[in-house]
């Protein structure tokens, strides 16, 4: 969240004027430069009287009694519950839901990397893997010990500053041509990229982001296949950020949202700000291709999700945290069906899922870290009395 990053910079700046490094000073200066309101805010925050008043209030709110009241509130439920929807009850399903009350402790990732299990076949989780394809056709495999690259007009580096051998062939001083580049993640991969305008994109597994080397013109446009989370930076001039997918375009100005676009149904979840979701009947041509007018248009507020099925957009309220949990390294299966859970596992573990017989409908609940091996995640299936076998990279599911 950009506001939190700025707040951190400001509080460290207030505590110790030399506490920020060069990049941080520049970031703070950029925020100050962005509006007079920002400059006024910093001045207000420096006022010791206001500081004292605020700190007094914060102190008054922090009561030991409140903490004890919270801790005493009802039983904790550290569960990974599975709701099985029995078909003959669907008529009165609202009144009668039978819970298989099997409890499962959410596992913490084992940091030492030593995972003890007797299974000969298990599947390791995904890692930071991606390739970058430049306009001249050159493909670069990105360093898996790094997690993000930053694209600037003159170069591309990893987030920690290490350079990439990109091989720009243009003379310094002349503006480089604007070219389309692609960041691609395989199954079991993920990577982050900071675009020339400062927008940060988290790319999930089996996805591709096509972006221009520079944002010129009246809009900032990129093309997404797969899943990504966008934290769009505000632009000084009115230059909206547009994410195009197969039959959808999302327009945003300084917001945060997630787009899930692996198949025919595209889900766009807004966590902050405001976006416009437009659906189309046909695919565009390339990242800058033109389209027929949209079939339907929706404007989303935070907490809403647009589900786009070939033109028809349905807007619903969702628990945004479960939709974007992957960005924080977590699977969140809350409200997902078995098929949806399996799709996520297919992408992250690079496996193929095969069903031996029909599984009754069920809804999951709970979270588990993405850096667990597949067998750990599959323990939830055991609890739902669904059985599985891992054969190389194929996961076979049976209903007992």
């Amino acid at each position: 969240m950009e506001a939190l990053r700025i707040a951190e910079l400001i509080s460290r700046y207030l505590s110790d004027t030399d506490g920020l490094n060069a990049a941080e000073r520049a970031a703070l200066a950029k925020w100050l430069f962005a509006s007079a309101a920002n400059r006024r805010l910093l001045e207000a925050l420096k006022d010791p009287t206001q500081q004292q008043k605020a700190i007094q209030q914060i102190h008054d709110f922090t009561q030991e009694a409140t903490l004890q009241r919270i801790l005493a509130a009802k039983q904790q439920k550290r569960t990974f519950r599975v709701h099985r929807i029995l078909p003959w009850l669907t008529g009165t399903a609202a009144l009668l839901l039978i819970f298989f009350g099997i409890y499962f402790v959410t596992l913490r990732p084992s940091r030492s990397g030593v995972q003890q299990h007797s299974q000969a076949t298990d599947v390791a989780p995904g890692t930071n893997r991606a390739t970058l394809t430049l306009a001249n056709g050159r493909t670069l495999v990105l360093d898996s010990t790094q997690s993000a690259i930053i694209v600037r007009s003159e170069d591309i580096t990893y987030e920690d500053g290490t350079g990439l051998s990109v091989g720009h062939e243009h003379k310094k001083g002349t503006p480089s041509p604007v070219v389309d580049c692609q960041l691609t993640t395989p199954k079991g991969g993920q990577y982050q990229i900071v675009l020339p305008d400062g927008t940060r994109v988290w790319l999930n597994a089996a996805s591709t982001l096509t972006y221009p080397s520079r944002f010129t013109g009246s809009t900032r446009a990129v093309y997404l296949e797969g899943e990504a989370y966008f934290s769009v930076s505000k632009s000084k001039k009115e230059q909206p950020f547009i994410v195009k997918s197969s039959h959808q375009e999302v327009t945003a100005l300084g917001t945060e949202f997630n787009i899930h676009s692996y198949d025919e149904e595209i889900k766009t979840t807004l966590t902050e700000g405001k976006i416009k979701v437009a659906s189309y009947a046909s695919r565009p041509v390339g990242a800058s291709g033109k389209r027929q007018p949209p079939v339907s248009l929706q404007i989303l507020s935070p907490g809403q999700q647009a589900v786009n099925n070939h033109g028809h957009i349905k807007v619903q309220h969702v628990d945004t945290e479960s939709q974007v949990a992957w960005k924080y390294g977590l699977f969140d299966f809350t409200g997902s069906s078995l098929a949806e859970v399996m799709k996520q596992l297919e992408h992250w573990y690079d496996i193929e899922v095969v069903y031996e017989n029909e599984i009754p409908p069920m809804k999951f609940m709970g979270q588990i870290y993405r850096n667990n091996n597949l067998s750990q995640v599959l323990k939830i299936l055991e609890n739902a009395q669904v059985h599985f076998r891992i054969d190389n990279r194929t996961l076979i599911i049976t209903n007992k």
Partner: protein, 200 residues
């Protein structure tokens, strides 16, 4: 008596947070609860209501044993959730129909405003946590003096020190805090010109 909160340590920012763990939950409560109430009260306007909203959120985290990957994840979640819960409270509150109407009407203007409110709350919150970073006795004296509002004699009695020692601790504490809090800072104009230079 109030429990001692954990100061912000950079090394902690990357470890996972288990809100079902009693000790961890207590630390996160001390660290963020008051600041989030402050933030919520700027939206809702009534302190008790703000406190109720944040308490409900924290109770949910405790009961569900929510996991977070690191501080960044937790903070973003907390601010977003308090924001949404506060808006929901205003919408549902029967006593605040007028306030709601005015607030929702100016929703665009309020987007910017919310960002500013988050920055304000979190900047003050960090300063609040800094007070607990002061060395032991010094910090206790400062807190008793400026937060609980005790006189020197009362502090001396409570901590079993001489009044002179209390005065010394106060002075040292204020010096340390002044180093952190004052506005004899890097002038604004210099900061802006730095930005111009970097962007040439």
């Amino acid at each position: 008596m109030k429990a001692e909160p954990m100061p912000d340590k950079p090394t902690h920012t990357q470890s996972p947070i288990d809100m079902g763990n009693r000790e961890v939950f207590g630390q996160m409560y001390q660290r963020y609860f008051g600041t989030l109430c402050y933030f919520a009260s700027r939206i809702i306007g009534v302190r008790e209501d703000a406190s109720d909203v944040v308490e409900e959120l924290f109770t949910g985290l405790w009961q569900q044993c929510r996991q977070f990957n690191n501080q960044e994840h937790l903070k973003a979640y907390l601010y977003r959730s308090v924001h949404h819960a506060s808006l929901k409270f205003i919408r549902n509150s029967t006593h605040a129909k007028e306030r709601q109407w005015v607030f929702l009407e100016r929703i665009d203007e309020n987007e910017e405003n919310i960002q500013q409110q988050i920055i304000t709350a979190e900047a003050y919150g960090a300063l609040y946590r800094a007070i607990y970073d002061l060395p032991a006795q010094c910090g206790k004296v400062i807190r008793l003096a400026y937060m609980d509002g005790l006189k020197n004699e009362e502090i001396a009695g409570q901590l079993r020190l001489t009044v002179q020692t209390v005065k010394n601790h106060k002075q040292r504490g204020l010096q340390l805090l002044r180093k952190r809090f004052t506005n004899h800072v890097f002038p604004l104009t210099l900061l802006l010109s730095y930005f111009f230079f970097v962007n040439r």
